[in-house]
Subunit: 106 residues, 2 copies
């Protein structure tokens, strides 16, 4: 339901920011092997639980991961769409014009 108020640039910032942290990239790398519960992530990454929780939230807010609750556990998994979005964004940032500037302020 959330849309507008959320333009292209803000979305790019949100995505890129979520991807610009070591812990979060480690989480992503782990999740590439498939869904994992938080407890396994904290074990593997040897990080405090609240720290993990913080980063998982950033990833989730950015739409990079999804969570699923099952009993006592919460499982996280990657959402591949987010990465396609990044690819599209990056692709759309390439220069449209090759040439050089003809003297600017001159």
């Amino acid at each position: 339901m959330a849309v507008a108020t959320h333009d292209r640039t803000e979305r790019a910032i949100e995505l890129f920011h979520a991807l610009s942290d070591e812990t979060r990239l480690e989480i992503i790398e782990l999740l590439r092997k498939g869904e994992r519960c938080v407890c396994e992530l904290t074990d593997t990454l040897d990080a405090a639980q609240s720290r993990l929780s913080f980063h998982l939230r950033v990833l989730k807010d950015a739409g990079i991961v999804r969570d699923r609750k099952d009993g006592r556990w919460v499982y996280y998994e990657l959402d591949p769409e987010a990465f396609e979005e990044v690819e599209t964004l990056a692709s759309g940032m390439k220069p449209r014009v090759p040439g050089r500037a003809e003297s600017c302020c001159a």
Copy 2:
């Protein structure tokens, strides 16, 4: 060997971080139209010169932008390779396995 002091993850962080700021994305958007001198960027973006200079350096250090000095002016332009790098990184982050986890810590 200490892989070029610059491993894959650090590189990803540098690139994504450089792209996670509004001013920098605005600069990139402007440069998509071609090379520009700093003075034109400050005019167009209505930003203090030292602020622009700061962000241009972040972009340059990340290899997103190249500069060329000509007389009194310094021209900046995008380096398309950086965006391809981002695409590659994003592509390489997609999950390798689809399935769900079979009860973790249980």
